[in-house]
Symmetry: C2
Subunit: 201 residues, 2 copies
DNA sequence: GTCTATATCCAGATAGAC
DNA sequence: GTCTATCTGGATATAGAC
C-alpha cells in the first residue's frame, strides 16, 4: 500500500514535470498571455482539461516556473561565491561559464528568456511579481561583494563595486537575450573582452 | 473647402498620435496580449469602439509603433555615423549619450522596452516580425564599421570588430532593460567603465 | 466624430462519463 | 487518470443612433 502510494506520487510528479517543461518552452518564447493552456496540453500530448488535474490555473504553472528559474539562478551564484579561489578568479570563471552556458544550454537560454519576459512586464501574476522583487537583487549584491574583495586584493579596477556589478550582470543578460532571440548559432564574444572590463592588467 | 479638409486631416492625425502615445506606454509595460483595446481607449479618454475609427485592429497599432521605434533607433545610429569626428570619439559620444538618455528619457526607455518585448516573443504580428528581422541588425553592422575604423586608427583595442559591436549594443541594451524595469531612480554606471572596454589606454 | 449596444469568438475552467 | 462536452466570462470588432 505504501509502495503504491509512493509510485502514484512519483508518476504524478513526472507528469507535472512534463507539463512544466512544455510550459517553460512556451512561456519563454511566447509569453504568459499568448500561451494558451491548449498549446501546453498539445505539446505534452494530453487533453486540455487534464492540465487542471495537475494545476489549478495557468497562473499557477507560471508562478511555479518563475520561482524555480529564480532559485536556479541564485543557487548558481551562491555556489560561485563559495568556491575557494580568489575574487578575480571567481570573476573570470563566472564570465567564462556564463558565456559557455549561454552558447550551449537551451534550457538555460529559455530560463533567461522567461525571467526577462517576466521582469519586463507588469502584467504578470502577483505571486510572480513578488518573487521577482524578492530574489532578483541577490546576484547584484553578491557580485558587488566579490568585486569589493577583489579591489582590496588589488586585482580589480578602481570603480564603484555596485556599478561594476551592474555592468557585469546587465552585459551578460544582454548577451543572453540576444542569443535567445536569434535562431541561428550566434557566437558569443571572446571572454577576454568582458574580463578586461573588471581586471587590472 | 481645402482649408477644412486640411484641418480635418490634422485633427485626425492628432487623435492618432494620442492613441499611439497611450498604446506605446501600455504595450511597453504590459505587452501586446495583456493590453486591451479598452485600456488604450480609457487612457486616451475615448470610447472603446472609437479606436476602430482610427485603426483597423490592435495589431495595426502595434505594428505601426514597432516600425516607428525601429526607425527612430536606426536614425539615431546613422546620425552618429555621419558625425565629423574620429571613430574613438564616436564611441565615447555614443556611450555617454546612450547612458544619459537611458537615465533621463522616459520615452526612450519605453521604446527600448517595446522593442525588447517584441524581440523576445515569437507571438507577435507577422508584420512586426518582418520589420524587426529587417531592421535590427543595422546598429550592429554600423558599430562594427566604426570599431574597425578605430582599430586602423590605433585607438581601439584588438579584437574582432563584430564581437566588440555585439558587446557594445548588448551591454547598453541590458542596462536599458534594467533601468526600464525598476521604478526607483537607478543610476547608470560611470561611462568610463564601458568606454574602457573599447579604447586602448 | 463619438457614443452605446451587441454580435461573435475564443480561452479558461468545470462537470461528468469512462 | 483521462477524455469529451460545456459553462462562463471577457475581449475584439461591428452596427447603428446621435
Amino acid at each position: 500500500m505504501a509502495r503504491n502510494q509512493q509510485q502514484n506520487k512519483k508518476m504524478r510528479e513526472d507528469r507535472k514535470e512534463q507539463i512544466q517543461a512544455e510550459a517553460l518552452h512556451q512561456f519563454a518564447t511566447k509569453g504568459l498571455f499568448a500561451t494558451k493552456i491548449k498549446d501546453i496540453a498539445d505539446g505534452v500530448g494530453m487533453a486540455q482539461g487534464l492540465i487542471y488535474h495537475y494545476y489549478n490555473s495557468k497562473e499557477d504553472i507560471y508562478v511555479e516556473l518563475i520561482k524555480e528559474a529564480l532559485d536556479k539562478m541564485n543557487a548558481a551564484i551562491l555556489m560561485l561565491m563559495e568556491m575557494p579561489v580568489p575574487p578575480h578568479e571567481k570573476i573570470i570563471m563566472a564570465i567564462k561559464q556564463m558565456l559557455y552556458t549561454i552558447e550551449n544550454s537551451d534550457d538555460f537560454t529559455q530560463t533567461c528568456r522567461l525571467i526577462a519576459q517576466a521582469t519586463n512586464s507588469t502584467a504578470i501574476p502577483e505571486g510572480a511579481r513578488k518573487l521577482i522583487e524578492e530574489k532578483r537583487d541577490l546576484p547584484y549584491q553578491e557580485m558587488a561583494k566579490i568585486i569589493a574583495a577583489g579591489q582590496k586584493e588589488g586585482t580589480i579596477i578602481d570603480a564603484d563595486p555596485k556599478e561594476l556589478a551592474l555592468v557585469f550582470w546587465t552585459s551578460l543578460n544582454g548577451l543572453a537575450i540576444y542569443k535567445a532571440t536569434r535562431q541561428d548559432h550566434t557566437a558569443m564574444p571572446d571572454p577576454r573582452i568582458l574580463i578586461n572590463i573588471f581586471l587590472k592588467e
